[in-house]
């Protein structure tokens, strides 16, 4: 682990924000603007060769009721988690990117993360799903549209503060 982290640190400097090796699945946290280069390095480097992107997930850290929010040990933010694995060397890696829930604070404008669809083609659909369900915009994505919900759906269902709409095209929601 240490040799990889040191390699990344000297290559990307403070882009590598945090490393966590004790948990069950260890992960590296990266800043959004350096994410693209890290991914290119991880996928391109022959020693590491993480050529399979298993899954992209967005986790919304927000407690809706104030009591729990006060006790929580994290302030509200969003995490985009990339699970990578290598077919050739048979090893896996978890990358995390922390973004705040709304872009520079104002409600409704989605946080932005650079898209890795150029490196792994499977990210195309995964990022569309994250955008559709959790509301994270991926800049540079070839076809940023909703994939599961209808195109004119309002709101992002997997966000903690999501309210099911009252009706959709005449169909009762709640």
């Amino acid at each position: 682990m240490s040799d990889l982290v040191s390699q990344l640190k000297e290559r990307f400097g403070d882009g590598i924000v945090d490393v966590n090796a004790e948990t069950i699945d260890d992960w590296i946290e990266v800043t959004p603007d350096v994410l693209l280069d890290v991914c290119e390095f991880l996928a391109g480097d022959s020693a590491i060769k993480l050529d399979m992107l298993n899954c992209i997930t967005a986790v919304d850290y927000l407690h809706t009721d104030p009591k729990k929010a006060a006790k929580a040990d994290f302030d509200p933010h969003m995490q985009v988690v990339y699970h990578l694995s290598s077919i050739e060397h048979k090893h896996t890696l978890v990358l995390k990117v922390k973004v705040d829930r709304w872009k520079n604070g104002e409600e409704g404008s989605l946080p932005e993360v650079p898209s890795v669809a150029g490196i792994w083609r499977t990210a195309d659909w995964h990022e569309r799903e994250v955008y559709d369900l959790s509301g994270v915009l991926f800049t540079g994505h070839p076809n940023m549209k909703r994939i599961l919900c209808p195109d004119d759906w309002v709101g992002y269902p997997l966000r903690k503060d999501y309210e099911m709409p009252l009706e959709y095209h005449g169909i009762r929601g709640r």
């Binding site: 682990m1 240490s2 990889l4 260890d26 077919i87 050739e88 048979k90 090893h91 896996t92």
Partner: protein, 256 residues
């Protein structure tokens, strides 16, 4: 029994003749009047089909079947095929310009007059009774149509055996030569049509966007493709704790 005797004068032969002739004329006119081109093609089918009926009525089964197969079964299938492919929303309606109408009626009318004049000139059609008598004698059942035609095509004029002209008498002056010429001609036309219709395969022609994207993806793949994956029994471990897992793997291999 009175009714039966009273309406005894209906001759089925004449009735069907009127029916078929009527259908073919009416639908031929409909072809002109309708604007929906698929309907027009369909009316053409009906009118040519009823002319085939006329041939059957006249006892010429072979020519009737020929008309059905060639005109209706062959030409019109292709015509409808073509019309159907182009008859998407925009092209279904086809309204002709009034001046075309005038020009068409002049040309059509003059041809009609010419035909009627020619028809009036045929003397055997003049007195109705002669044709009716001939009609009575014609025994439709044993109309010998196919074989003499076939033989004539291969050069043997079987029906002119007793004519005084010596060449005809021993049956040599059939239609062999024109038949061969026509078949060669058709072959040439067929090959020409096939040549023109073939899809031109040219790599240089401008490639559509989707095609170009696909081609360079294929290109990209072939370079990155020669990485050989080895099938090794090695369970994947998290890269970060790869130091200790390296140790475990070596022990795994040792145990097997």
């Amino acid at each position: 029994m009175g009714i039966l005797a009273a309406v005894n004068r209906v001759y089925w032969h004449e009735f069907f003749f009127m029916l078929f002739a009527g259908i073919s004329v009416v639908f031929a006119v409909c072809v002109l009047l309708t604007q929906n081109i698929v309907r027009m093609a369909f009316y053409l089918v009906l009118s040519l089909g009823s002319t085939a009926g006329l041939f059957f009525l006249a006892g010429a089964e072979f020519v009737g079947a020929m008309q059905l197969m060639i005109y209706v079964g062959g030409t019109l299938v292709l015509l409808i095929f073509g019309v159907m492919l182009t008859a998407q929303q925009r092209y279904v309606k086809m309204n002709t310009h009034p001046t075309d109408w005038v020009l068409a009626t002049i040309v059509g009318g003059s041809l009609l007059v010419l035909l009627i004049g020619a028809a009036a000139g045929v003397d055997s059609w003049k007195d109705a009774s002669a044709s009716k008598k001939a009609l009575a004698e014609l025994d439709v059942d044993d109309a010998r149509t196919a074989t003499p035609l076939g033989l004539a095509l291969t050069g043997v004029r079987v029906d002119k055996l007793d004519s005084d002209d010596p060449a005809l008498a021993n049956g040599q002056s059939g239609y062999l030569l024109p038949f061969i010429i026509v078949s060669v001609h058709l072959l040439v036309v067929l090959i020409g049509a096939a040549y023109m219709a073939r899809t031109k395969r040219s790599a240089t022609a401008p490639v559509g966007r989707a095609e170009r994207a696909r081609l360079n993806i294929m290109q990209m793949e072939h370079e990155t493709d020669d990485v050989v994956y080895s099938a090794s029994k090695q369970s994947s471990s998290s890269l970060l704790d790869s130091d200790q897992s390296q140790a475990e793997e070596s022990t795994d291999e040792a145990q097997e």
